[in-house]
C-alpha cells in the first residue's frame, strides 16, 4: 500500500475530498498545517512592530491506498487542486508496510 501525502490550498479541501470519494477513496486524515515554500507569506504590523509571517496555511492530506490506486489518486488530487498559481502544493508518495482497522482487526487492503 502507499501513503499519499498532499499539501493543498485550504479552500480546495472539499473539492478534493469529493473527487477522491468519487474514485473510490474511502478515508483520509486531514491536518491543518503551516506551509513554507515559494509562495510568500505576508507581514503584519502591530503598533509599529513588524512581523513577517513566512508560513501560508495549507491542508495536509494523508491517504493510504492499495498500490494499484496510487496513480489514479495522485492524478485526481493534481487535477482538482491545481489553480496554476504559486502555492498549489505538493504530493508525496511513500510506502506503507502494514495497515490495520482497529474496529475489526482487518489487515492491509481490507483495512482501507
Amino acid at each position: 500500500m502507499k501513503m499519499i501525502i498532499a499539501a493543498i490550498k485550504p479552500y480546495k479541501l472539499d473539492e478534493v475530498r469529493e473527487a477522491l470519494t468519487t474514485i473510490g477513496v474511502r478515508g483520509m486524515m486531514v491536518t491543518e498545517i503551516k506551509g513554507f515554500g515559494t509562495q510568500s507569506g505576508h507581514t503584519e504590523i502591530y503598533r509599529g512592530a513588524e512581523y513577517a509571517v513566512n508560513f501560508v496555511p495549507k491542508m495536509r492530506l494523508e491517504i493510504v491506498v492499495a498500490d494499484s490506486m496510487t496513480d489514479t489518486v495522485v492524478d485526481a488530487i493534481t487535477k482538482t487542486a491545481r489553480t496554476g498559481k504559486i502555492g498549489d502544493g505538493k504530493i508525496f508518495v511513500m510506502d506503507v508496510e502494514k495497515a490495520l482497522r482497529v474496529r475489526t482487526g482487518e489487515l492491509d487492503d481490507d483495512a482501507l
Binding site: Y11, D14, T43, I45, Y46, V53
Partner: protein, 471 residues
C-alpha cells in the same frame, strides 16, 4: 392637520403631569418658557437617565453590535467587521457635532433641518432640550449625546449585509454620505418638533412624518428599516461572497455572537426606554415592553426551529431576540407588556421566513441578515405599533400637543395603521433609493470590493495587516 399632531403616549399622561412637580406646579405650566425658567424645569434624575441611556446605546454599537456581527463571519474577516463598526462610530460622532445635529434637530423644513447649530453653535451647559411633558427639560448636551449614539450605531447595522467583501475607506465614505443624505433627513422627518411648550404656537414646526402623525417611539423607521433597506441595496450592488454555497461559511465564534446579542438586549433599554427622555412610569413601560417582546421573540424563533429542524439553536435564539428588539422599538412606549409579547411572537416567524427561505430563493447574499431581521422586523413593528398603541387594547394612544397644555388625542386604529404604512413606505423609498445611488456611485469611482484573492485570504490580513487570533 394639527388635529393629527401627535407623538408620545397619552395613557401615562395624568400621572406625568402630577409627578413632574415643577416648583410652580401650583400655578400650572408655563407656555414657551425662557431659558432661565427652563433651568428650573430640569430634574437631575432625568439628566442621569439620559446620560446612562447614552452609555447603553454606545455599548450597543461597541462592542455589542461589532461582536454580534463579528462572531458570524469567518476568522479571517473578524477584525474587518470590528474595525468597520468601531470606526463608523468614530467618524459619525465627529460628523454629528459638526453638522449632523443641526441638520436633524433644528427647524428649517419638513424634510431636513437647517445649519444654524453647526459645530453645536449656541448649545451650552445652560441650554435645554424639550421632553414629551410640558415644562420638563433636560440639558441640551444630554439630548445631543443621546441622539448622537443613535446616529453612530445605525450605519454600523448596514455593514452586516455585505460583510467579508468590502473595502474599508470606501465604506467610511459611504457612511458619511449616507448619514448626511439619508439618516439625518429621515430622523428629522420622524423626530423633529418644536416641543410641547412651543408647538401650539406653530403646529407646522415639525418634521414631515411627525406632523403626519406617524408613531415611532425609539426608531423603528429611522434606525432599523432605514439601515435594513440600505443593507439590501448594498449586498445587491456588491454581489455575493466568493465561494458562497460551495465553501463552509459557518460563524467563526457563536460565543462572540452570543455576547454581542446579550449586550444588545441589555443596551437596548437605553435605546427604547431612554427615548422617553424622562425617567418616569412611561420609561418603565417602554423598558418592560422591550424586555418581554424580546423574550417572546427568542422563544418563538426557537420553537419554529424545533418544528422545522427538530433542534433549537443558540443562533436562532439570539436572532429571534434581536428581531424582537427591532420590532418592539417603535412600539415600546405605546404597547402593553401583553401586546408586546404578541408582537414578539408574530415578528420572529416572519423574520425566520425571510432569513431562511426568501433570501435563498431570491439569491441575494445578505451575509448577516440585515434586511431579513432589521428591515422586515422593523416593518412588522412599525405597522404593529399602529395596532398596539390603541387605548382599546390598553395602549397609550397619542398626545395632542397642538393645544397647551397637551391633552390625549382620540385614537383611530385604521387611520393610524395607514399612517404607519405611509411612514414605512417613505423610509423604504428614500433610504432604498439614495442608498442604491450612493453604493453605485462609490463603486464606480473607487470600487467597493477587494480582489477575489484578497477576499480569499481574508480582509484582516489584506485590508488591515493583522490577524484576529494568534493562539
Amino acid at each position: 392637520m394639527n388635529t393629527m399632531l401627535k407623538l408620545g403616549p397619552a395613557g401615562a399622561f395624568g400621572a406625568l403631569a402630577l409627578s413632574g412637580l415643577p416648583a410652580w406646579a401650583q400655578e400650572g405650566p408655563i407656555k414657551a418658557p425662557t431659558v432661565e425658567q427652563m433651568a428650573g424645569m430640569v430634574d437631575k434624575g432625568d439628566t442621569t437617565w439620559m446620560l446612562v441611556s447614552s452609555v447603553l446605546v454606545l455599548m450597543m454599537a461597541i462592542p455589542a453590535l461589532a461582536l454580534f456581527y463579528g462572531g458570524l463571519v469567518r476568522t479571517k474577516n473578524m477584525l474587518s467587521v470590528l474595525m468597520q463598526v468601531f470606526m463608523i462610530v468614530a467618524v459619525v460622532a465627529v460628523v454629528w457635532v459638526v453638522y449632523g445635529y443641526s441638520m436633524t434637530f433644528t427647524g428649517g423644513g419638513p424634510f431636513v433641518g437647517g445649519l444654524s447649530k453647526m459645530f453645536l453653535a449656541g448649545v451650552g451647559t445652560g441650554t435645554y432640550a424639550a421632553t414629551f411633558s410640558n415644562n420638563v427639560y433636560i440639558p441640551e448636551y444630554a439630548f445631543v449625546i443621546f441622539q448622537m449614539t443613535f446616529a453612530c450605531i445605525t450605519p454600523g447595522l448596514i455593514v452586516g449585509a455585505f460583510a467579508e467583501r468590502i473595502k474599508f475607506w470606501p465604506l467610511m465614505l459611504f457612511s458619511v454620505l449616507w448619514v448626511t443624505a439619508v439618516y439625518f433627513p429621515v430622523a428629522h422627518m420622524v423626530w423633529y418638533w418644536s416641543g410641547p411648550d412651543f408647538l401650539s404656537d406653530n403646529t407646522a414646526d415639525a418634521g414631515y412624518l411627525w406632523g403626519m402623525g406617524a408613531l415611532d417611539f425609539a426608531g423603528g423607521t429611522v434606525v432599523h428599516i432605514n439601515a435594513g433597506i440600505a443593507g439590501l441595496m448594498g449586498c445587491l450592488v456588491i454581489g455575493k461572497r466568493v465561494g458562497l454555497g460551495k465553501e463552509n461559511m459557518a460563524p467563526h465564534s457563536l460565543t462572540m455572537t452570543m455576547i454581542g446579542a446579550s449586550l444588545l438586549w441589555v443596551g437596548w433599554f437605553g435605546f427604547n426606554a431612554g427615548s422617553n427622555l424622562e425617567a418616569n412610569g412611561l420609561a418603565a413601560l417602554a423598558f418592560i415592553n422591550t424586555f418581554v417582546a424580546t423574550a417572546a421573540a427568542a422563544l418563538a424563533w426557537v420553537l419554529v426551529e424545533q418544528f422545522r429542524h427538530g433542534r433549537p439553536s443558540l443562533l436562532g435564539a439570539v436572532t429571534g431576540a434581536v428581531a424582537g428588539l427591532v420590532a418592539i422599538t417603535p412600539a415600546s412606549g405605546f404597547a402593553t407588556p401583553m401586546t408586546s409579547i404578541i408582537l414578539g411572537l408574530v415578528t420572529a416567524p416572519v423574520c425566520y421566513i425571510f432569513v431562511s427561505y426568501v433570501k435563498g430563493k431570491l439569491k441575494y447574499d445578505d451575509s448577516l441578515d440585515v434586511f431579513g431581521v432589521h428591515c422586515i422586523g422593523g416593518i412588522v413593528g412599525a405597522i404593529g405599533t399602529g395596532i398596539v398603541a390603541a387605548p382599546s387594547l390598553g395602549g397609550q394612544g397619542w398626545v395632542d400637543y397642538s393645544v397647551f397644555p397637551a391633552v390625549a388625542g382620540t385614537f383611530d386604529m385604521t387611520a393610524q395603521v395607514i399612517t404607519q404604512i405611509k411612514a414605512v413606505a417613505v423610509t423604504l423609498v428614500w433610504s432604498g433609493g439614495v442608498s442604491f445611488l450612493l453604493f453605485k456611485g462609490i463603486d464606480m469611482v473607487f470600487g467597493l470590493r477587494p480582489t477575489a484573492d484578497d477576499e480569499r485570504q481574508g480582509l484582516d490580513q489584506t485590508s488591515h495587516g493583522e490577524s484576529a487570533y494568534n493562539l
